[in-house]
Structure formats: C-alpha cells, structure tokens
Symmetry: C2
Subunit: 213 residues, 2 copies
C-alpha cells in the first residue's frame, strides 16, 4: 500500500472515503483519491446512487438456496424457470463463471455454484464448498430445481490444477451415485492460431479430437 | 465502454452497483465487476462503511469560504490557524495540489484554490474560477485569513500552457493591486539525471540558475 499522507491532509470524510476505496480490489491510494474527488465533484444524486447501490447489494442479494447463484429472489430465476432442463446440472466454481456461460445462450440446463474449488494448500477442503448440497440435489430430486431428477452433471471448472483436483473429486462422488458426469470440452480456443498454442492446449486438442459430422 | 452483458445477467442490485462503479474515473466494466463482487463478499459492516463514506463526503465536505480548500469546518483548518503567515498566499489550481504542497511541510503561509485554470479552448474563463475572491482577499484584508494584509502571492500553477496563461493573467491583476507576485521555481527535478532532462527543463534550469550560498 502507498504511504499515507500526513494526518489531516484531507478533511476527515474525504480521508475516510479514500480509505474505503483502497479496500476495493485493484484500487491503490492514487486511484482512490481520483475516485473520491470524482464523488466530491459529481451531483448529490449520483453520489447517493452509489451509496445506496453499495448498501442495497449487501442487503438484497443472497445465494439461491438450490444452486448458490447470486439472486435477489429465492430460488433464483434459473432454478425456478420451468422451461429449463433441470435434469442437467452444470457445476461452476463461482457465480461469475455462470454469468459468462449464460451469456453464450447455448446452455438450457441449470447450474450449481461451488463457491470455490478444492485447494488443500490454500486450506480449502471439500467441506468448505457446496458439494454436500450438490450431492443432495442428485440423491433427493425434491431438493433439485422444479423437483426434477438429475441425469447429467457437467463439470465447468477452470482447466487448471485446482479445477482438475475438484473435478476428479466430484466425478468420483457423482459416479458413485449413478449420474452421468461430463466436463466442458478442452481444445483450441476459437479464433486462435495453432502456431501460438501452448503444448498443453495442443495435447488437449489431439486427445479430445472430435469426429467431423 | 465494454459491451454490456445480456439483461438480467446479474441480480438487479448487483447490476446497478456495477453501473455505479463504472461511472468512477479509470474503472471499466471488468474492474467494476471485481469491485462489486468484493462488496458482495466483504462483511456487512465494511460495505456499510463504504456506503456511508460516499454519502458523508457529499453531505459534510464543503469549500472553505476564504481559500476554497476542501473542508468539513468553515473556515478551513489552515485559514483559521493563527500560527500560519496569512500575509503569504499560495495560489493552486485544485485542492489536491494544496495537499501535495502541504505534505512537504515547508510552507507556512496560506493558500487560495482557483478550482481550475483559464482554458479558453476548453471554455473556462477567468469568471469561472475563484479569482474575484482572491482579489478581494488582497483588496480587503478583513476578507483574508485572520484579517491579515497580503504582501506576497506565490503562483503554484502547473508548469504547462494553461497554467502559464492563468499565471500571466493573475500576475497582471495582482501587480495592479500592489502585491508582490512570485511563482514556484522551475528547474531540474531533484533526483533526476541531466542527460535525460528535456530541452524545456534544461532551458528553465539555465534561465533560473540560483546563486550558491
């Protein structure tokens, strides 16, 4: 963190706002000062809009009790949507991944947000995630969206070491319970150049080669 | 601005907070999302602290009626401090410049914040700044800090074209009123290397050469 200026440099409320802004990710002292000065200059209405938005997000947004997606209603709009195929559950690490997948418009099933991934070195054990709730959705269909039995679980974890660890653990637990487990395809990213692809990407692309239809 | 995701991607309060964050300077959609997720994850107390700090800064912070520095009391702590030499007024463009100068601890006089600089192309005329109030501080000592007569005005404007334009205009108005006008020294920045200094810096350094004591 940048060095603090001498005390009483700014009026106390300005100093306090700068401190609050520096707590945000990626915001250093300089950016926080610029942001605080923006708030000072903007209209009272705009400032109150920001203030209320921060408070509202904390007071109104909760986790969906079925899939742990962020929501202001429970169950969330996806879980309560009967036109979605609740027999397919796509497992993601965090709500932001769900949003990215949802934006493709390709997937019509439902989701399950783990709220993290297994990371023994970082102190994250399976019990710290929402795995027990996922297994209950499999075992007891009345705990699943629209009380539908789950036939397939698609693992949508990040393709890195912790993601793979989590995926292997889940695949093990899920297959024991007689459900089909798949994972998102790995291979060449669309729009990329073969010559610049890494060895790991090329190895995935060769091993996972797909039949031409 | 980055493209917006499809509607209802996030719950409405989250979407609204992201929108509010993107209004801040230097914050794009991605950063705003990270910041919003930080607010979602942090404690309720921390979130309310940020919310209140934004509201407070708008409701409690005003401009000092003498020097136009930001303050939560009027006149500000510098103007009302009798141990400061109110016969010297250092003119700066904005409150942030005042803070930077104040942090050196070298200057014991008072300040005047112009709240901008003359910029005819940008539509900023002398009448848009606090120049009239500055001239009144010169003409009527009871309008100055601690009712002291002003002997010297030090121009602490940015060393660029608009700063120089503003400085020339002020020097003209101030000398007419019989007050000494000086400006902050220009020359080599401390800790720099001569070989990398620009022509303008070197020219300033030669013209403004100082006697060795």
């Amino acid at each position: 963190m940048a060095s603090r200026p001498t005390s009483n440099a700014y009026p106390e409320p300005v100093e306090r706002l700068i401190d609050e802004f520096t707590k945000l990710p990626g915001i250093g002292r300089r950016s926080a000062e610029r942001m605080a000065f923006h708030v000072l200059k903007c209209s009272e209405q705009d400032a109150m809009g920001l203030s209320r938005a921060v408070a509202d997000v904390k007071q109104k947004v909760r986790c969906c009790s079925i899939c742990f997606n962020l929501t202001d209603i429970d169950p969330c709009g996806i879980c309560s949507n009967e036109s979605r195929d609740a027999s397919k559950v796509l497992v993601v690490e965090q709500a932001r991944d769900l949003i990215s997948l949802e934006q493709t418009g390709v997937y019509k099933g439902v989701y399950h947000v783990l709220t993290g991934r297994i990371d023994p070195l970082g102190g994250v054990e399976p019990g710290d995630l929402t795995i027990a709730a996922l297994l209950q959705r499999i075992e007891k269909p009345d705990r699943n969206c629209c009380r539908v039995k789950v036939h397939e679980v698609i693992l949508g974890l990040n393709p890195d070491m912790e993601g793979d660890t989590t995926g292997l653990y889940l695949a093990d637990e899920l297959t024991k319970r007689g459900v089909n487990v798949t994972r998102l395809a790995r291979g060449l990213p669309a729009g990329s150049h073969l010559e610049y692809a890494s060895k790991a990407v090329l190895a995935d692309a060769i091993e996972g080669r797909q039949a031409m239809r």
